[in-house]
Amino acid sequence: MGLAKRIIPCLDVDAGRVVKGVNFVGIRDAGDPVEIAQRYNHQGADEITFLDITASHEDRATTVEMVERIAGEVFIPLTVGGGIRTCDDIRTMLNAGADKVSINTAAVHDPDFVYEAAERFGSQCIVVAIDAKWVSADGETPRWEIFTHGGRRPTGLDAVEWAQKMVELGAGELLLTSMDRDGTRQGFDIGVTRAISDAVSVPVIASGGVGNLDHLVEGIKDGGADAVLAASIFHFGEYSIPETKRHMTDNGIEMRR
């Protein structure tokens, strides 16, 4: 008995609405992030991640308002990611009630931003999001690289070395997404999850590719992840959080009741 592994539903939010909506029994407004976050909280989710994919600057005020409303109702950790580029962006989200912010592209453009953010706000609230893609040929030692722009733009950065560098600069946690698996429902890329989890001292959240509950078990048992993040399997009512936790517990993984 000890530290529980975490189940984290992720909400993709555009201009204050959850993209694609959700399909729960009893949800009044399938696009309202506040109602959905509350539902996950009641079901026993361990954390909520709110990914802001709002393109226009003006609509970001809506995002801040949403974060404020969620934070006033949902008393579990809340991470906000998407469009975090400056310390002012971080300050705004923390003041709105976020507990952590997730930095992605801005870290690739300027790694020192991670250092500055951790110095100013503390490592505990700085998550670095890593989008990794498998780049080695078959038969070679496996290698993954960091990609930006939704997996379209290579950076030449080795994913494991990058992860270590982010932790040295002050990242308190890593959110690792496999760009090969994201959206495929074939399961996590266990290779990169294990490689990064073994290489760093901070917790790793596995993301990208979850299609069933066994994938979540694999992410933790084989990948060595400390937490697993998923969106669609929860949103469309395929699996509830209690059902997920039962499955994990049955497989010998420690869960919060």
Partner: protein, 213 residues
């Protein structure tokens, strides 16, 4: 009736204020104003980041003297959270050693880097996530909360006390037993974040708001 969350410049106090507002109709203020702190009926001492900075900011904002005085008097309930718990003890080994407020005995130590769990996986530091809290002795703030309930933690340092009388709760991580709830008189302090610990955390805050030591 006012609950003052003492704002000495360290960390994000909005979450704790929001959670308190959720469990009480009493006025909740985030403040560094001496008069408002003196006028409050209950106090929350939060803390985040490096302990040297926390103690340093408490001194820079000239709140140190008042906090020492309030701790000495024990005439109103005070809840320490996270580094706010650690600060109440004698000394921390963080930042090459820092003297703390010394309200309770005990040392603040760092989790060793080389710990692993039963399955052989490395115990990551910070200790981040939901872990079980074993109630070492009863207390009004544990009212209605199950023995071995999960609470949410984020920390790399933990309190260790030798004096059992101030120990109210402990959590196992790797080979360490962290003393995550300590207290004396009208003061109670926790390493975990009640404001992020869902039902159990809100219950603890509700108990604090109703506590009449």
């Amino acid at each position: 009736m006012t609950i003052a969350v003492i704002d000495y410049g360290m960390g994000n106090l909005h979450s704790v204020a929001k959670a308190l507002e959720h469990v009480t109709h009493e006025n909740v203020v985030i403040t560094r104003d001496a008069r408002r702190i003196h006028g409050a009926t209950r106090l929350v001492l939060p803390g985040q980041g490096a302990i040297r900075d926390c103690i340093g900011e408490l001194e820079r904002t000239e709140l140190r003297g008042m906090v020492d005085e309030l701790l000495a008097r024990q005439n109103k309930p005070l809840l320490g959270i996270c580094v706010g718990q650690q600060m109440l003890h004698e000394h921390s080994e963080e930042n090459d050693g820092v003297d703390c407020l010394g309200f309770m005995p005990g040392e603040v130590r760092r989790f060793p880097a080389d710990m692993s769990d039963e399955s052989g996986n490395r115990c990551k530091v910070p200790h981040m996530g939901w872990n079980l809290v074993h109630q070492h002795q009863s207390h009004p703030l544990w009212e209605g909360i199950d023995q071995n309930e999960h609470f949410y933690f984020v920390h790399s340092y933990y309190v260790e006390v030798e004096d059992d009388s101030v120990l109210f709760g402990a959590t196992d991580y790797g080979r360490v037993k962290a003393h995550v709830a300590t207290g004396r008189d009208a003061t109670f302090a926790v390493q975990f974040h009640p404001e992020k610990s869902s039902r159990a955390g809100l219950r603890l805050l509700e108990n604090f708001v109703q506590w009449m030591p």
